[in-house]
């Protein structure tokens, strides 16, 4: 059992001893049923830390954001950040370590096990409540999730409301951590890995084309998926093309003809380009935290794109991201046995 008091105590100790400059965890929010990210600097505020089925955010994102923030701020507090990390979050941190975006001594990982069964999926919750807003959600200890909403409360079978990635999870705890809370649970008995993406892959090409065309048509290019992804840390994204160097001698023709890979406006072809570019840049790096799908305001099933490539990486190249900070990245490594039959 993950005892939240243990996490709070450890966080308090780390802050009191001055070992870390801040603890990133979860606390109850005012905005929705979900917990919100907490940036705790005062030891007494650790009492507000929580850990339950609503702690869906991937806090690895804030390691990236804090690092970027440090560049613009004057104070150079170089102490590490402590971060509460579930399995998928911990793998994301490992990828950041592997890519040298952060150094091992810049982070103190408070690994937690998702013993109860995982995190709720807000879209599935919305589906179960037919669009009504939930105000609370918790495991009832009996294979169900008790959901409270403004007009009352109801209990839903856990599998109906838990995130698909949690149902398919094969390692519900981080492999790399400084402190660990809970028991190491490997597999859950819900469904095999890649169930969701297999369903789409098995459709006919025409069905798949229509499926994705329908979704990309709705995309409003808010870039929430990119903003929430810890792996999308490029200072300038290829979609934005803002730092084209313009000086007094740049001709109008040059300015007009600069490379613009993807148009700004949200039309289906440009949206498809954006999502494909993002997916391929995440190949071998995405650890399926599911945040991209959660934050999408128009409910595009983005996870499918990333897990499809994750499945290929595993089946074809025996590569799984985020297991070991020393492993090479998928695309900057190769084996002699890599598939060759598709090449003439």
């Amino acid at each position: 059992m993950v005892a939240i008091e243990d996490i709070r105590a450890r966080a308090k100790e780390l802050l009191e001893s001055g070992k870390v400059r801040s603890v990133l965890g979860y606390r109850r929010g005012t905005a929705s049923v979900l917990a919100e990210p907490a940036f705790v600097t005062a030891p007494e505020d650790t009492a507000a830390l929580v850990l339950d089925a609503t702690c869906v955010e991937n806090l690895a994102l804030y390691l990236v954001n804090e690092k970027k923030r440090q560049k613009t701020q004057r104070s150079q507090d170089t102490r590490p950040l402590a971060v509460v990390a579930k399995g998928c979050d911990g793998r994301a941190i490992t990828v950041l370590l592997q890519e040298n975006y952060i150094k091992r001594d810049e982070v103190v990982i408070l690994g937690v096990s998702c013993e109860n069964g995982g995190m709720i999926d807000t879209h599935k919750l919305s589906r179960a409540l037919r669009g009504k807003a939930a105000t609370g959600a918790a495991f009832d200890g009996n294979g169900g999730i008790k959901v409270a909403f403004t007009a009352g409360e109801t209990t839903v079978p856990a599998a109906e409301v838990l995130a698909a990635r949690c149902l398919e999870c094969t390692k519900a705890y981080p492999l790399v951590s400084d402190y660990f809370f809970g028991d190491k649970i490997d597999e859950r008995s819900y469904s095999p890995r890649f169930t969701a993406v297999s369903a789409i892959a098995e459709k006919s090409p025409e069905e798949r084309s229509a499926f994705w065309a329908g979704h990309f048509e709705r995309c409003i290019r808010c870039y929430a998926c990119r903003a929430v992804c810890p792996m999308c840390y490029c200072d300038e994204c290829v979609v934005d093309s803002t730092s084209f160097i313009v000086n007094p001698t740049t001709s109008a023709d040059e300015k007009a003809c600069r490379i613009r890979w993807i148009q700004r406006s949200a039309s289906p072809s440009e949206n498809a380009m954006y999502h494909m570019v993002r997916a391929i840049h995440l190949a071998g790096r995405c650890t399926d935290c599911g945040e991209c799908e959660r934050v999408c305001p128009v409910n595009i099933p983005l996870r499918l794109l990333n897990t499809m490539l994750e499945r290929e990486a595993l089946e074809m190249f025996e590569y799984a991201p985020g297991l070991d900070p020393e492993q090479p990245s998928l695309i900057s490594s190769f084996r002699d046995g890599d598939p060759n039959d598709f090449i003439r």
Partner: protein
């Protein structure tokens, strides 16, 4: 949402109906495949002129963006061609290409693009004949598939 009506037949700039001629964008590595295509030319081999060659230093330098952008701008088919494994001028570039292009191919297929529109080949500087064959077969297959509409920007 503005919906552009699908063209039933292809028309040229003068709005005349014509046989569909697929546009192929071919990324050819400088040291092998581009030289191979030159050899095909110098040998006066006859093959369809539909492929626009773009010379890259190495097949390993072909970014997935080039491929997707080619489809976005209207290419009916995209070819990436490099040195044979073991013969890369930069020793390992084509091994990286092999892995990366495999993933791009899977992604394009997953989105619903016909997989036959995107190909990769190993063509050495001495294989002018092979290059001509690769392009000939590609153009033939693309003619059967028709114009690429799934990823093309609709303006």
């Amino acid at each position: 949402m503005n919906k552009v009506p699908e063209a039933v037949e292809t028309r040229n700039d003068k709005n005349e109906v014509q046989d569909f001629e697929p546009k192929v964008v071919a990324f050819l590595c400088k040291w092998c495949s581009s030289a191979g295509s030159d050899l095909a030319g110098v040998s006066r081999l006859q093959y369809p002129p539909n492929a626009v060659p773009i010379q890259v230093m190495c097949s390993g330098s072909v970014s997935p963006m080039y491929i997707m952008s080619a489809f976005n701008k209207g290419a009916d088919g995209v070819l990436v061609s490099g040195c044979h494994p073991g013969d890369c001028h930069y020793l390992k570039g084509n091994f990286y290409a092999r892995r990366r292009i495999y993933l791009v191919q899977k992604l394009l297929k997953f989105i619903g693009l016909e997989p036959e529109r995107f190909r990769m080949s190993w063509v050495s500087a001495a294989e002018g004949v092979k290059y001509a064959e690769v392009v000939t077969d590609f153009v033939k297959d693309l003619k059967a598939l028709g114009p690429q509409r799934k990823l093309k920007a609709k303006v």
